[in-house]
Symmetry: C2
Subunit: 435 residues, 2 copies
């Protein structure tokens, strides 16, 4: 088992690493100091430089082709190769980076050039995003938000049949660490009939799972539910920044637009399906009486293994907390078990009418809140529409985000008998609106 707890790496920092033990091996794009972007693999506190590894001849066969595709300045070509190539690369990496590596001497001789320290490297967006689609599969979020926007009609009749999604903006998907500027826009102040214009006053985060698409399909074709998982290249965290006041005024009848398109932040590492295998679950149970998915969304294997048990966390670090030397404070802890639809159902639905999915397309799950307030994945929910401020440990209060606030998403998988793995962080600090 490539995910067993007892697998160790000869790179000491990988063993018991909270995010990147040998069992994880997520891929990303990074620049070593003073050098150009290239593909790499996170291992403990280091990154395996795939460009250097390829040049040193560390891979053979299908793994070599996969490593070469992943060694450029984006992972799109690697995603396009599909799941078998990814698995071949993983097998080779487990051998190279594991205890008793047959290439240990050659790798040690390459030193920092092959395995630079992660903190010396700059991390980039892992792929050029072709299209970005945001789903809405967090049913507790849909219920909570529905109550605020439509008190008498929170969950619309289509919700339990259709994996609801909408097209987002690809050009402003940015990597963790990119500062986000508070947007200006039109809003309708309460009780007014004429909109105001200015900086958003209700700026929010959204805690989401991100899904990177692999091979995809041609226009006019579709991806069957039974094959959908093979078209997923990997997973990340996604913060779908949202200007709630802009959203409330603009979103009818065609959906969110400027309220969401100023920034969406993703974590830099692409965690693979193979690394997540021990944390698979059945599709989370649905409330009694809910309808069966329509046949094109129903697959026995997906019902049995299409869910994930991934802890998702939002933390906040305010400007004052930074000055006071405080650690980020957790605002919510949720889980991917709150997804009403599986990732395979999202892929099958998206493509069923012939929409072309391409390597490097990005899906967001939608906000994954749990049923309890401590599990709410947005401030809109945690403050009940801005009506009940949160009081932070240092005495500060928040209804929505203030300038200088840094939002940090984390994800971790734990299971008895398996090494824990993590996603790394998805961070973004909020800059003041432009004067």
């Amino acid at each position: 088992m490539s995910t067993a707890a007892n697998l160790l790496s000869w790179i000491a920092s990988a063993n018991d690493h909270p995010d990147f033990p040998l069992q994880n091996l997520p891929l990303g794009i990074f620049s070593p100091q003073g050098q150009s972007p290239r593909g790499g693999v996170a291992i403990g506190e280091r990154i395996l430089d795939l460009k250097v590894a390829c040049e040193a001849g560390l891979f053979e066969g299908e793994a070599k082709a996969a490593a070469e595709a992943a060694s450029g300045d984006s992972l799109n070509a690697f995603f396009a190769l599909g799941a078998p190539a990814r698995r071949a690369l993983r097998a080779a990496l487990l051998e190279l980076l594991g205890e008793g590596s047959p290439a240990l001497d050659r790798m040690k001789a390459l030193g920092e050039a092959l395995l630079p320290a992660m903190h010396d490297c700059q991390l980039h967006l892992p792929a050029r995003v072709g299209d970005y689609t945001d789903f809405y599969v967090g049913i507790h979020h849909a219920n909570n938000v529905g109550k605020l926007f439509r008190p008498d009609n929170p969950l619309l009749p289509n919700y339990k049949y259709v994996p609801i999604g909408y097209h987002g903006r690809a050009s402003t998907v940015c990597v963790s660490g990119t500062p986000v500027r508070r947007p200006v826009g039109q809003t309708l102040p309460p009780g007014q009939e004429v909109p105001s214009f200015g900086p958003s006053k209700r700026l929010d985060y959204e805690l989401e799972l991100g899904i990177w698409i692999g091979q995809g399909n041609k226009m006019g074709d579709s991806i069957a539910i039974g094959e959908a998982s093979e078209h997923v290249a990997g997973f990340c965290l996604l913060n779908d920044w949202s200007a709630r006041d802009v959203q409330a005024w603009e979103y009818q009848p065609l959906g969110p637009f400027l309220a969401k398109n100023f920034a969406s932040t993703v974590s830099p590492w692409v965690v693979t399906a193979e690394a997540l295998e021990p944390f698979r679950t059945a599709q989370p149970p649905r409330p009694a009486g809910d309808p069966q998915p329509l046949p094109y969304l129903l697959d026995a294997q997906d019902q049995a293994h299409g869910g994930f048990d991934i802890e998702l966390e939002v933390l906040l670090l305010t400007a004052a907390m930074r000055e006071q030397g405080l650690e980020p404070q957790r605002l919510a802890l949720s889980n991917t078990q709150n997804m009403y639809w599986t990732v395979a159902q999202m892929v099958a639905h998206h493509s069923v009418g012939g929409c072309k999915l391409q390597p490097g397309d990005l899906f967001g799950s939608g906000t994954l809140s749990g049923p309890e307030p401590s599990q709410f994945g947005s401030l809109l929910e945690s403050t009940f529409g801005g009506k009940q401020p949160l009081t932070l440990a240092n005495g500060e209060q928040r209804t929505f985000l203030e300038d200088g606030d840094e939002v940090i998403l984390r994800a971790r998988c734990r299971r008895e008998g398996y090494a824990s793995i993590g996603f790394g962080e998805c961070r973004g600090v909020l800059l003041p609106a432009k004067a």
Copy 2:
């Protein structure tokens, strides 16, 4: 004046050409027979091959840089150069292709290699579409459709303040001539509470103006209304195919998704602002009592010249008509004067919150219906929601599109004292749903 009626070309087919006289000079991407895609300029029944023209040294200075940027397999690099480069190229083309061209002998010596016949060439999508945004600025369409979906509330309160738009699917923007497959999907039959799954039964076209974005802006910046026109690289026709039954069931609360993302067809030629200059108008007058645009959408120059007088036409060619040897039948004749918001207002609004616009991004205007039934730009409107079938000249009836129907969009500009120019065609034939 580079647009005066009396300018003639030494290429005979250009003079009095309904679409592509010397005054137009639209750019596109094409493949000469057996050769790779490259940039070209439509002139009469021919295409000036920019790759061959560059290799022959026909350009100098800024025009040379522009022609080189436009000679690759997409126009993105050319769009990125911005308006001054585009104007320099136009000035050079007018001289090269006009009567008394100083390079006449060299060009004639190059013959078909420089100026292949358009009907021998394959036309491609002119640019890689980064993001595609569809607006909703046709106020008569918004009213007509609003009445069908929300009889008591056709035009929402935000319509006259916000240039409503939503993100569409970039991966399925395709060039004229690409067959479109009827999508399958979920729909809710009238009177039912459980959705059905199958081929869309209410497949429709939408008559839109397409807008190609030029230089664009960085994430977090915005484009002021006074500068917005400089960020438009050109114009085309756009058919935003729509599955109305899918749309009605899925679109709440986040907007159209599978109902629109299976295909959007554009015409291959990018008509420039310079060619359209004589057909500029003031922003079309708004109904008395309508609010002023907010200051970020208000610019004196745009108010005076931000409109266009472009005739827009939808034609239908059914399978039976093709067999009978009939010409396509006009279904509607409309005009860009039906835009409630100008193109500059769309650009300024889209970017005001910091959304990054990039060279090759595509906007659709939304369906540009006029107030009269003969001006309705979709079957949804022309058949009053499918309730009043259209009877065609050959006796066939249509509520929505049938397999084998070909939808053809055309656009033409006419003004006394100026040469007429056209956009060429935007065609697509509907294939049956996949078995």
